[in-house]
Each structure stands twice: as C-alpha cells, then as structure tokens.
Amino acid sequence: MDVTLSVNGIEYQRDVEPRMLLVHFLRDELGLTGTHWGCDTSNCGTCVVLIDGEPVKSCTTLAAMTVGHDVLTVEGLEQDGRLDPVQQGFMEEHGLQCGFCTPGMMLTARALLDANPDPSTDEIREAISGQLCRCTGYATIVRSIRWAAERGAGGNGAGPAAGDRTEAQEQEVGS
C-alpha cells in the first residue's frame, strides 16, 4: 500500500506492506537507523519516536497507522548543525555508555521538557520508566535531562513543521 509519512518535517512516500511496523519503515525504507530496534515486544523502549509530539514505541505501531501524523526521530533533534539541548545534556553529563537506549531516551526527554520545562528527578524517572538502559546508567540520564532543563530547553517544540519539504526538495538542497 502507498504510505506517505512526514518524518522530521520531510514527506516520504513508499509502497510497503500494511504489516510493516513503523520502526522498520524508518530504518529499512528511509535509512533512518538512529531509531533503534530492540526487544520487539514494546518493553525496552529503544524504538521510541515522537508521533505528534508524544513518545510512542515504533515496534508496536504500523507505519500505515502513522499516515497523517508527524514523526520525529533522533535525526530530527539537531537543527541546522546545532544540537538540541537534550543532546548537549547527554554529552555534558555522560548520559550514554553503549548508546543503544539513547535515541529513545532523548526523544522522551524532549517530549517531557516540551510539556514540563522544569521536571523534578522523580518526574524524569517516571517519564523514562518505559525505557530500559542495559548499562543501567539511569543516574547520568536523569542528570543529562536536568542539564537541558536548567538551560531552558523546555517548550522549544523540537523539529520543523510537518510537510515543510518533500523528499525530492530535500535531495535538491543536499546536492
């Protein structure tokens, strides 16, 4: 079936099977491998992306169900060469070890700060409680998100508006 998705503000059109999960659409069809693919059972949360600004496990969402909605992946956090403060926070506070959970953690952090610019450590821990860090580096992840919050990272509304550009226009710009 024809699936047209807005991902990081760019419209992509692909002909895929209805059974294709969003995580595989992003990774295999669009080459956006920043979204990681982990447990496949909506437990680990490494596949989290934002759909209309809300964290969602993309291994348990069909690409077809996402048509008409805006997807933000980790590739869309950085803007014009500037890291999102959340990304900067993970750098400054050593918020990652192996890095496998990091994209999902950063996107959930982005959504949290958009809704609540000054979250307590308890609120941060609650927000990321659907995501596992197999290095058990939770303390530094919480510190990284606080780092971003303390620098006014909240309420930025990450990512460009939907459908600003088409994939063809994007390639033109890039060439």
Partner: protein
C-alpha cells in the same frame, strides 16, 4: 524479527464506516486502536486477521463526560488521558490508581480503555475497576446498539460479549452519592501485569457502607467479584475488623493458580491484604469527599 502475518489494512473515518468494513468478515477482521495488545498477539500468530480496521480517526469514540448520574468514557480514550483527567480522579479515583500502574507512560500514550476491556486478559486492571463500579458497556452493531452489564460482558479469558461484527463504543459508570474507591496492585516489576490486585468501591450513607463492589484481578474469579466479602460488608459500619474480614473472605473465595508470577498461596495472601487496604482507602476517600 517479529512481524505480523500479511493482512489488509483499512482506516475507518467514522464508527459507521468501521461497522461497514467489519461486516461480512466474521472473525477474520479485527479492530485496531492503540495496538499494544493486538500487534504483539499478531506477531506471535496467536491471532491472524485478514483485515485490520484502524479506528484511531473515530474521534467520537474518544471522550470523558460527566453526564448527570453517569460517567461516560469513550472506548478510544487513551490510558494517558484517563490518568491525566481531573474528572476521573474526582469521580472514580480507583481508575487513576489503576492507570498509574498499567504498563508504562509510553505504552499509556497509545493503549485504550476499550482495547483493554476487549483484550479481556485475566490480569487486566480496568476490567476489575469496571466490575467493582457496576459499569455497563455499550456495544454497537449495524442494527443498533445494546448496553451490557460487566457480568454479561465477561465470557472468560480473552472472550467478551462483543460479536465479530460489533464494536465496543463506550463504558458507562453509574455515579451515586457517598462514593469512594481505590485500587491496590502488586506486580513483579514496574509496568507488569498484576500478581494480584483488588479494586474496591463503596457508597456510604449515615456512616455505614450502603453498597460495595469488590473486584479482584488475576486470581481466578469468573466474574471478577468477591461476592462473599461484598455481602459481609454491605450495611455495616466500617472499621479495621471489617476490612480484615473482607480481606479474609475475598482470599477464601478467589481461586488463583501457581504460575511464573507466584504461588497460589502467595496470591491468596496478597488478595487478603490488598482487599483490606483497598477497602480501607475507599472508605477514607468517601469520608473525605463528604467533608470536602
């Protein structure tokens, strides 16, 4: 890689459209909302629909409305919306209690109350809540709608009164004066299914428990209600002895099995303690609401 078997996908633009799409497919069509129960089952080939009908655009199924003496909750209402709702917290705090311990915040962004009830997992928390609150559900087919009390909605594990060509559209919770409610759950780790849980609603009048609903999760009761405990509590003045007696009767009536979540003995112990705690907290809340 876990991927469902092939199927056709259709997106319904309205409830009527969804019912049209369902017609004639029998058991081979399934409704998808949050998808956090159905897609895992499809990945494991426990269900293998030929047609998946997406109802996420049916906005008229997504609502929380205080309507006179009834609280109406649309089947498409997300867990996150239930947890965030002040109306729910004020009228049926047991739902807020339960939502805090259903899965995790990311899953709650997608999962719906209708999906939870229709999945009908024996360990499902909101079924217990709806049982204890004497709720009814609204089921719609092409020929019209019917309302079904929770006792008739349950047909056993993973089975409900919703026929293949029908859709659960709304949950209706009666609102009565003097109400208080609470949900208590023990799980192995955050976000897991209950080892055991108890949901209790009381309706107080002149210092006595005028009526009560005691629902139990994951401990093998067919209709989910601890009827012996309910009978013992009804019409009595609440005190610690009564809470303990209710817990003891609930533990005697339940019928848990040994499994990977715990032994039957442990689950019986939990049932007594959680029933006692939930009843105590429900009464406290009813009193607090009265003096508020």
């Amino acid at each position: 890689m876990q991927v469902p078997a092939p199927f056709e996908y259709a997106r319904a633009t309205s409830l009527e459209h969804a019912l049209e799409l369902l017609a004639g497919h029998g058991e081979d069509a399934r409704i998808i909302a949050g998808g956090h129960s159905l897609l895992p089952m499809m990945k494991l080939r426990l269900v293998r629909p030929e047609l998946v009908i997406d109802i996420n655009d049916c906005a008229d199924l997504d609502h929380i409305v205080e309507d006179g003496d009834t609280l109406r909750i649309g089947a498409l209402t997300r867990h996150a919306a239930l947890l965030a709702s002040d109306t729910i917290a004020r009228l049926v705090p047991m739902i807020t209690d339960a939502e805090r311990v259903i899965a995790d915040p990311v899953v709650r962004n997608r999962g719906t109350i209708g999906g939870s009830l229709c999945q009908a997992d024996p360990g499902e928390d909101l079924s217990t809540v709806c049982d204890a609150m004497s709720s009814t559900v609204v089921i719609r087919g092409r020929d019209g709608e019917r309302t079904v009390p929770m006792g008739d909605f349950h047909r056993g594990p993973y089975e409900t009164a919703v026929e293949p060509d029908e859709i659960l559209t709304e949950i209706r919770i009666p609102l009565r004066p003097g109400a208080g409610s609470a949900y208590e759950k023990v799980e192995r780790r955050v976000g897991d299914w209950a080892i055991a849980a108890a949901g209790v609603a009381v309706w107080m009048r002149n210092g006595t428990i005028d009526d009560v609903g005691i629902g139990l999760t994951a401990v093998g009761l067919d209709d989910g209600l601890a009827t012996a405990a309910q009978d013992a509590v009804r019409g009595r003045e609440p005190d610690e002895d009564l809470y303990a007696e209710a817990g003891k009767l609930a533990a005697e009536q339940c019928d848990p099995v040994d499994d990977q979540r715990g032994s039957a003995t442990y689950k019986r112990h939990l049932t007594a303690e959680l029933t006692t705690r939930a009843l105590r907290r429900a009464v406290e809340r009813a009193r607090a609401a009265r003096t508020a």
